[in-house]
């Protein structure tokens, strides 16, 4: 172990930014530097984010009229399926872990790189292979199963490219697993001297928790998709009831992955928010230990609640009550986190910079998403609103209001570290507020129409719901502005932004001790850690010395 962390300086290149380690395409495609791999991931998932966003933009336009505007039923179904598959597996699941996790995890624990740098590169290539299948699937005409691939629709009746879609998700799953293994090993093995488990920043804890979930849950997804392919391609009866199969088996397998997957998407966001709140309130995160226990609690209990997706699917009503109870249990740690973030503000010196505004947006939207989760955990309400727009609104509050807001908070918080440049804060704050307003305009009406009985995945719909769809689509326009805007001001900052310096936010955390952008091996010397994270304000104490 120690032989990894001893001070071994790269001879000539010390101090040179990782961005200058080579400018050729080949130098990027063969890099094993965790920071460069993070950039590769960031570019790939950004492309997918806009493809997925474009798909749903068309869907929202189409829904302006109850009888549709310009799409056929088939096109409509393929577009929302494409949106779901891309956003879940090619944006949200990899989003924060593979970009900020990759870039920051080694830096936050004072390491030069992840434990297995070549595995890290391989996981990006697996992602690219999976992405290629998905692009082929889209170019070949898409798939019409919904992102959930429910059987026997997907295995026997769907007329889209189910196998290509499943193959894409299947391969990408291995990328998740490889990343998870890498992060767990890194956290265990490569912590700098003095960086004990209770001195780890909460972001590291969240990445650790999510890695555990990734390696335990993703294989189940791979198995269930493999079974879909086996039945569709070879006709082996697994889910087909006419040959003794069980269509519900697929849903159990699928949600056994896909519910923990929700936590794969939200846990890293929670880590980001803890870092941002502490920095801009200049306070230690309130209840650090409780935050760790709640992260790990969510990760563990999250495996036992999948049945709440199936209250009307035909499982035993008594099983419904058990899953309902466990779903209430898993909500407790999330509530603790919300209260602790609020309490972190108490007695702070709060600065409302752009990352903080995105994080505060997260707090509000995540709270609403979490509370509406209680509605869905209650069996009688869920029976009415499941498979309606109420559910759509709920999980978009968690995944977009929560995870995507946190992704933007992270992007704005660590942008100076990653690029070495400052962006115009005014425009970034404008973007954060636009995003918050646009999000609410898009999704709040969906709660209302969902409760009124508007089913999801409907191309044509009863006219009474039109007014809500029109409001929702107008909100989407704001949301699109908020998503596209950073392309401009962040792009501008790359060339014209002021130099950021090591620590423009005066933030605690080892990553801020390194140069911006950091050199290949992150630190001039391996830091020695002498105190806990979040030494802000009156809690400030010399934490680490790199000299």
């Amino acid at each position: 172990m120690t032989d990894i962390t001893i001070d071994r300086f790269p001879d000539s290149k010390t101090g040179e930014s990782y961005l200058d380690e080579g400018h050729s395409l080949a130098s990027w495609l063969t890099t094993t530097d965790h920071k460069r791999i993070a950039i590769l991931y960031a570019l790939s998932i950004t492309a997918f984010f806009f493809i997925g966003g474009f798909a749903i933009g068309l869907v929202r336009l189409e829904l302006l009229e109850p009888h549709g505007l310009f799409l056929t039923d088939e096109e409509y179904n393929r577009l929302f399926t494409m949106h779901g598959i891309i956003m879940v597996w090619f944006f949200l699941v990899p989003s924060i872990p593979t970009t900020f996790g990759n870039f920051l995890l080694p830096m936050m624990i004072g390491a030069k790189d992840v434990a297995f740098p070549r595995l890290n590169l391989m996981s990006w290539y697996l992602f690219v292979i999976g992405a290629t299948f998905t692009i082929i699937m889209i170019v070949a005409g898409g798939v019409d199963t919904g992102w959930t691939f429910y059987t026997p629709l997907s295995t026997l009746y769907a007329n889209g490219n189910v196998i290509a879609a499943a193959a894409g998700v299947f391969v990408t799953g291995f990328s998740s697993i490889a990343t998870g293994i890498n992060f767990i090993a890194t956290t265990h093995m490569l912590r700098a001297p003095g960086m004990t488990w209770t001195r780890l920043p909460l972001f590291v804890w969240s990445i650790y928790a999510v890695s555990v979930v990734m390696i335990l849950a993703t294989p189940v997804l791979a198995m269930s998709l493999l079974l879909v392919v086996v039945e569709r391609w070879f006709g082996v009866p697994i889910f087909n009831p006419n040959n003794g199969g069980d269509p519900l088996l697929f849903q159990h397998l699928f949600w056994f992955y896909s519910h923990p997957a929700v936590y794969i998407m939200i846990l890293p966001a929670m880590g980001v928010i803890s870092e941002v709140f502490a920095c801009f309130a200049r306070r230690k995160v309130f209840g650090y230990t409780a935050m760790i226990y709640s992260l790990m609690g969510i990760a563990v209990i999250g495996f036992m609640v999948w049945g709440h997706h199936m209250f009307v699917a035909g499982q035993s009503p008594y099983a419904n009550l058990v899953f309902s109870f466990l779903s209430f249990v898993v909500a407790v740690p999330s509530a603790i986190k919300v209260f602790n973030w609020v309490a972190t503000l108490y007695g702070g010196q709060i600065v409302f910079k752009a990352p903080m505004l995105y994080a505060m947006g997260f707090l509000g939207l995540f709270t609403v998403g979490g509370l509406t989760g209680l509605f869905l955990a209650s069996v009688p309400i869920d029976i009415h609103v499941t498979d309606t727009y109420f559910v759509i609104a709920h999980f978009h509050f968690i995944m977009v209001g929560g995870s995507v807001s946190a992704f933007f908070a992270a992007l704005h918080f660590w942008w100076p570290k990653i690029t070495g440049r400052l962006y115009p804060d005014y425009w970034a704050r404008f973007g954060a507020i636009t995003m918050f307003l646009g999000f609410n305009a898009t999704f709040l009406p969906q709660f209302v129409m969902g409760y009124e009985g508007m089913p999801r995945r409907y191309h044509v719909y009863p006219e009474q719901f039109q007014v809500y769809h029109v409001i929702s689509t107008s909100g989407t326009v704001l949301l699109a502005v908020a998503y596209i805007l950073p392309l401009f001001y962040l792009g501008w900052s790359l060339f014209y932004g002021d130099r950021a310096g090591r620590n423009p936010w005066h933030a605690a955390g080892l990553e801020w001790e390194a140069a911006s952008p950091p050199p290949k091996d992150n630190f001039e010397r391996t830091p020695t850690v002498t105190g806990g994270p979040y030494s802000y304000g009156e809690d400030a104490e010399p934490r680490a010395h790199t000299a």
């Binding site: 039923d73 629709l153 269509p247 409780a290 029976i383 999801r456």
Partner: protein
Amino acid sequence: MNPFMFVSDVSHQAVVVDRLFFVLTGISIVVVGLVTALVVIFGIRYRKDSPAPRPRLPRMLKNEVEAGWISATAFLFFFIFWWAAASELSALNAPKNTLDIHIVAKQWMWHAQQPNGIREINEIHAPINVPVRLVMTSQDVIHSMFLPALRIKQDVLPGRYTYLWFNAQKAGIYHLLCAEFCGTEHSRMTGRIVLMTQPEYARWTETEAPTQGLAAQGEKLFRTLGCSGCHGPNASVHAPDLNRVYGHPVHLSDGRVVTADEAYLRDSILQPRRDIVAGFQPLMPSFRGVVSEEDLVRLIAYLKSLSTKNVLNQQGERQ
């Protein structure tokens, strides 16, 4: 059609669900209000360089604050669970003597069969103030019967029966929607449920009635498919007697005792070797692929008529 459906008084269950929903909404508004108020107050009071004092919380107090809100949250959540679960338990089991309407779903239509044999497409007529049960199956993919005005929904699966029951108290015409994505024309798999007073329903069943009730049609099938050859009164083959089977316990050869419901009868026709009745040889061939879902409904209706004393069903039969 009522465009304003936030509150429904179409059934007792709908009222229960609405009450739960609005109390939860109230709690949510309070919590969101609290979080927002705290963020705004702290944001203003503790903005950078504001004059407000910033006392350190003593460590003891910190722990108490934390333990306080953890237990308050847990208590609140468990209370909501208990309340929701209790209202669900009371709605779990349909009463005896329901009026049974059979539903067969297929891409992309709903097919209903009334007890007296009336067939409907994308429409269900049902009386109010009578417990009505939908006995549902699908011919192809998974669908979901969604009756928003009644606040109920149940997936409809191929290869088995699922059930949905309600006791409506207000007549009217309401949406009937498919809620589970089922392929190209999923959003067109919609219709209406027509809830009528009992005299209206009786009149409707009389004017629409086909020449034969469902059970009578089933009885005919029972003979043409050859079931009566073994199960009939004069059969030479040793086969279980089907009189008074439905709704009664059946002893199986492996020692289990099951109640003969629609699902059991269906399985016994399609997979006769699965549940062998104690004391009988597994002689019966499978009728899978021979008998359609709709004919199964007729056969089962006939078997039920051999043993049920369902007043309403028999009213329906008597045309």
